[in-house]
């Protein structure tokens, strides 16, 4: 049985629906990310789990027990805030020990636990510092240690890294995952950074306007997006208007060039688009694959990858090439051949499958 279950959760703020019919079962030890654009209800959902918001309808269960009647201070959830929210009047050690102190734990136990937690985040040398004497990254690590010190059932993080600069963000991301694995703690991680979600999560929940669009492993989300929204929101994708030639075989025409798609549903009357990720496209022609011919429209050198846009009968098709020292960068205006396997692309008519 799942450890944490959200069952038909909805939340409205006077007439405005922030979250709608949210269903999710989180397994013990699982790392789940909520990913979605701003205002899609990620924070609201997390706050309902923490007890800071009461669902308008639905039930949240922890180990089969209804959490609804429990106030936030009796839920035993460790929360990490975007703004750190460390207590400015307390030292690092006092911050970490706070939860045990209000729980009335004996002093020796508190001290032991504080040392243990500071070791975990490698900050034993900073025990006596006040929060304003620490860097942003250190403050957030401290906030993490403080949340973990009470041995919470579930760890909740609301965009914990978004106030930090890129390098620290990357470092801390790995540290969060390491600690999470080490403790085996069930974790919900809110972010609007797709890279964070993809690299950290066991499963990702993609949200849009208060509704779940898709739940799946990072690979499922990326390779088999359940909707155009997911496909476009996570990573880059070509979505090219095409004309259906043979609906039952997935054969379509892009401009004047024929393409066969590996996956297609019911292609009813609506306009159909061909979806394929830029990294699936290769330069050159290959027998048996989909082949397109066009003209180089632009070339963007990004270091590890080179993003090329090819004008195929008036449609712009993006393709990503890996950089190599010997790579000859294509020239704008020249004719260019690209190919991609049939299985790499699919057809969509905008209806969620």
């Amino acid at each position: 049985m799942a450890q944490l279950e959200l069952i038909h959760i909805s939340k409205s703020f006077n007439e405005m629906t922030a979250v709608q019919d949210f269903n999710l079962a989180v397994e013990a030890g699982e790392f789940i990310s909520f990913l979605g654009p701003s205002g899609c209800g990620k924070t609201t959902t997390l706050r309902m789990v923490a007890g800071f918001e009461i669902p308008t309808s639905g039930v949240i269960q922890l180990d089969g027990m209804d959490l609804t009647p429990l106030p936030p201070n009796r839920r035993n959830m460790g929360m990490v805030f975007q703004s750190y929210a460390l207590f400015p009047n307390m030292t690092a050690a006092q911050n970490v020990g706070y939860g045990l102190r209000v729980a009335g734990k004996p002093r020796v136990e508190i001290e032991q636990r504080v040392i243990e937690m500071l070791d975990l985040i490698q900050m034993h040398d900073f025990a006596e510092r006040y929060p304003n004497q620490l860097s942003g990254g250190q403050q957030q690590r401290l906030a993490l240690a403080r949340a973990l010190a009470i041995k919470p059932r579930v760890l909740l993080l609301d965009e914990p890294l978004s106030a930090l600069d890129a390098k620290i963000r990357l470092e801390l991301r790995q540290e969060i995952r390491r600690i999470q694995r080490q403790l085996g703690i069930t974790t919900i991680y809110v972010t609007h950074d797709q890279e964070e979600a993809l690299s950290l999560s066991d499963r990702i929940v993609i949200m849009r306007r208060g509704v779940i669009e898709q739940v799946g492993t990072p690979q499922q989300i990326y390779n088999f997006p359940a909707s155009d929204f997911v496909a476009e929101f996570v990573g880059h994708i070509n979505l090219l208007p095409v004309e259906v030639v043979q609906a039952d075989a997935g054969v379509v025409r892009l401009g004047s060039q024929v393409v066969r798609a590996g996956q297609f549903g019911h292609l009813n009357g609506r306009p159909v688009r061909l979806a394929v990720r830029p990294e699936e496209l290769k330069a050159g022609s290959v027998e048996g694959a989909n082949n397109l011919t066009g003209m180089i429209e632009s070339v963007t050198y990004l270091g590890a990858i080179v993003r090329i846009r090819v004008d195929v009968d008036g449609q712009l098709v993006s393709l990503d090439m890996f950089n190599e020292r010997s790579l000859e960068i294509p020239v704008v205006g020249q004719p260019f051949h690209v190919n991609f396997p049939v299985e790499a692309c699919w057809l969509t008519n905008g209806v969620k499958n």
């Binding site: 936030p72 703004s83 207590f87 400015p88 009047n89």
Partner: protein
Amino acid sequence: MKKKNNPWAIFWAVLAMLYFFVPMLGTFIFSLRMKRGVLSFLAYQSVLSDANFLRSFRYSATMGVVTVIVSVVLLLPSVYWIYIKAPKMKPVMEIISILPFVIPVIVLVFGLIRTFGRPPFQLTLSSFGTDVLIAAGYVIISMPYMYRAIDVGMRSMDVRTLTEAAQNLGSNWFQVLTLVILPNLRIAILSGALICFATVMGELILGDFLVRPALGSYMAGVGRSKAYEPAALAIISYGLTWLCLGLIQYFSRGRSQQQLTGR
């Protein structure tokens, strides 16, 4: 960089200082003239040895302390509650908090007497009842200062998130207030308390109309009947006010050492 002092700025500063200090200096010198021909602290001696002065000083000081305590106990939870639960109420609270500036104290006094001096309250019958009334009056008069001080303190930290963090770690409301909110408001409350205290020490009308031995009334009385002592009293009360201001300065300097924001 323009670091040279503007001569006009200096001129105006000096003028303002003169405007402020010349009368004070005059008062001070005058207060030393009680004994003909020599400068002495006789007027101060006379004031400080007056039993009535000591009585009214003690009375007002006690009232000051009571006012501070009542103000904090009333305002701290209210302001906190507004920050946490009803931020929309803030403008309303702002308006209420400046009402004492708008309504003359004399109106307040008559209102208090007419409402609470009659049955069923009849508070003015006993001196304790009157003290309760006068303390209530002081709390109202000093509310703008106390409210503002607490408000500024709350604004300097992320009250809401800190509260949620504390709750999340298992604290009940009392623990949130005493372990997290109050310690971070220490300086704000202290400065509010000192202004509050200074206000009560100088308040004239309430003590006068409710016939209680307040320092303000005493000073006014002395001013009417004597020559040198009022000057000495004025200097003493100035000194007291400045002491309070100095203490505020001193304590708020600690701010920079200690982080005050929860952000």
